[in-house]
Amino acid sequence: MTTATKSSGLKWAGRALRRLEDPSLVRGQGRFTADLPSAFCVRFVRSAIAAGNIAAIRVPAGATVITAKDLVNVKPILPMLHKFDYKPIGQPVLADGVVRFVGEPIAAVVAATKEAAEDIADDVSVEIDETPAVVDGRAALAPGAPQIHRDVPGNVIVEGRFKSGSFDKAWAGAAKVVKMEARSHRQNATPLETRGGHASYDSSTGRATLTCATQMPHLTRTAIADMLGFPESDLRVVAPDVGGGFGQKMSLPAEYVLLVWLARKYKTSFAWSEDRRENLIAGYHSRDQHVSLEAAFDQDAKLLAITADVVANIGAYSCYPTTCAVEPLMAMAELPGPYDLRDCQCRARGAITNTCTMAPYRGVSRPVITFALERLMDKAARAFGIEPVEIRRRNLVDKFPYKSATGLEYDDASYQQTLALAVEQIDLPAFRKRQHGARAEGRYLGIGFATFCERTGYGSPAFAARGMEITPGWETVMVTIDPSGAVEARIGSSPHGQGLRTTLAQIIADEVGVSPAMIRVIHGDTDRTPYGWGTFASRSLVIAGGASLIAARKVRAKLIKIASSMLEVAETDIILEDGHARVAGTDRTISVARMAREAYTQTHRFNGEIEPGISEVGHYDPPGTFSNACHVAIVEVDIDTGNVAVERFLVAEDAGRLINPMIADGQVHGGIAQGIGNALLEEIIYDEHGAPLSATLADYLPPTAREIPSIELHHLETPSVNSITQAKGLGEGGCIGAPAAVINAINDALAPFDVAIDEMPATPQRIRAALRASQNGDRA
């Protein structure tokens, strides 16, 4: 490994360093939850009925089957929001008399092997008196719809309203009003590793350990200790290698609570591995929204105001800790997107239905509102007779800092520049020419743009604005140099594929003056790391990275102090690099390892002026920063089959300073692939009775390598003033822009037929239906 030091003029941060995580993973030596052996396996008996009352549960003789009546004094999952007329609803760990969606856990079967547990589960008979179910979000709000929770008449669990003071005046001054109805169907984050947990018990200490696929180990511990009623110190939560999460593993599963309950009760170990069917029907869903959007423009196609009515179908319960309000409220807060407009009005409701609970999934609501707003901008461009690029150029914010119509502060960014870069790289005039030529041959090519900004790396004030009883935000990192000179960083954040062990090591290495390979980043274990919130919301590199920088700077200061004492020169004469402290202008050096040894074993030499050991803590709670991007998709639509091929996908994006460009590119690639899947393929379908029809990966279709074109990335790096590393978050952006770009491209391709595809996913069936319905669409 080459050195990156002051004298070589290089830094570790900013380099495409290979990941420290990889050698064990490519050897099959990763350690995932399901790899742990256990004494007993657990299988859940789940409701096959969307709504009803449990009349009887019959259990085979001799079997160990846990039901709600066994869970005395176990509290329900009950997240809370203190704003927006939120109605708290609890989810019992096992259904207690009532079932509210297909897949809801009713009983837990325990057996020595998973096959035996499945056999017994098949023989548990559950009798349910079926009651009317409601599946669609808007239908749940209609008068006379079945009421799903006793305390929530009308099924509205949360309602946000916002209206700027001058909205009515702005609206009245419109030269043109453009409207649209956007529909985003239900999706599932679909990590390759499903959820799963393993709970064990240590009789010598009376402690339980839950190893589980989670993005938030510390909060998982808090939640389970609260629900089961014991001190948090009686539980250790470990997130080992976690096989992707994308938000799905951030919400608390009832199943994990039950595993800990079993381990404490029976004082042995229990494991549950979710199967793919369980994951698809009960592993949390997302993105199910209706958005009615209208925008007022002046005669020059400048946005004056927008108004939106958002109905999010939040499913049967509320996810912990964010609550199910996260989708409607984020839609409301970030509605204006990257556009300069002064007036905004929004009503955003969460509707309870008899479907699987909705929870955050990569992008959370913004893929949907970006889709709605970007479709609207394209419709407006058409109404004004200008290019989609031109209407964006006229409306994108270009002066920073900027306060949005909903009160958010946008820091320095490059909305106009990323659009200009994307347009230049894609060569729009050449495409239009090619498109024209292709149409003459009966081939339908289209181009779609999506411009957006994305709030990332936000601390506790942003979460507090939603009124969350549990308000996440800050992170803590503890950097220690042990007596051998090895560096450990203990982080509260919990990566699961993002490469944080590498990027944080790069940040720390530059301060401490050792190479990243010398730095071990420890995460995912409540016994070994300081309390922290985890990895979600494009936050870890910004917030845990900032906390790492703060802690590492303190370590650096201490090393310089120790070196000053040991080398008997002024601190200002010390240069720390290459694992050594050096006296400037001389070849006198002392190694970090020797200083570390001294700091523990020879403290008497410091005359009480330097505290023993080397261990420093950094806390960071930033206000938040906005990343931005322009996505461009070129597609070809087969009008006979409705098939869409994405021919080209180009991104110009700005996530501030890139700590590791290789990892940054990987995050964008992955987000875009999910966005393309969300746009074209992925849909959880329910029948009218609430039975999920997408229960295998042959029905629910994450994209394969065949559907994803080569992705062209261009980075701008506008440093963020709201992030001490100058980095912005970028985990979610790919997913936010891609659906809008792809579906705009489909609509552009189909422009000759005068159809509107305003639903995602834009499946072949929907495209064919639109063509059939159009006057000139069905040539066949």
Partner: protein, 157 residues
């Protein structure tokens, strides 16, 4: 009604006793303790459990352990030669072909099976082959790059 079978994994024999319904992947993971092979769907779509049986990539969730008895099974644990990684493993590191790493063993075994048979496979055919497994993290960009780079390296050797 268990029966005794011998599974030969990466050249090592494992004498195990399994029910007829035991899938190969469960036997590899639980009876033989080789947990590098992962389970992603148990219905043959995702390919996370791909191993080589007599040189052919196989979904080990769709095969019974008994069907693999007496055959040569290769898993991700057998790819490296001591400290020296297989060219595909090295290429996945060099080209950032993995993020969470859960699908990686399956992709590695799929690609090893195909490239050992035909290291001159065309890019288009390779894309077809790689589309048989799912990855949710990488968007496939760097997996494709890594496999192409490894193919070049394997041709060179």
């Amino acid at each position: 009604m268990k029966s005794s079978i011998k599974l030969t994994i990466n050249g090592r024999d494992h004498d195990i006793t399994v029910e007829p319904r035991r899938t190969l992947v469960d036997a590899i993971r639980e009876d033989c303790g080789q947990t590098g092979t992962h389970i992603g769907c148990e219905h043959g779509i995702c390919g996370a459990c791909t191993v080589l049986v007599d040189g052919e990539p196989v979904r080990s969730c769709l095969m019974f352990a008994e069907q693999a008895a007496g055959k040569s099974i290769r898993t991700v644990e057998g790819l490296a030669d001591g400290d020296t990684l297989h060219p595909l493993q090295q290429a996945f590191i060099d080209h950032h072909g993995l993020q969470c790493g859960f699908c990686t063993p399956g992709f590695l075994m799929l690609a090893v099976g195909v490239l050992e048979r035909d290291p001159t496979i065309s890019d288009a055919d390779l894309l077809d082959v790689l589309s048989s497994n799912l990855c949710r993290c990488t968007g496939y960009q760097n997996i494709i790059k890594a496999v192409r780079a490894a193919a070049a390296e394997m041709r060179r050797r």
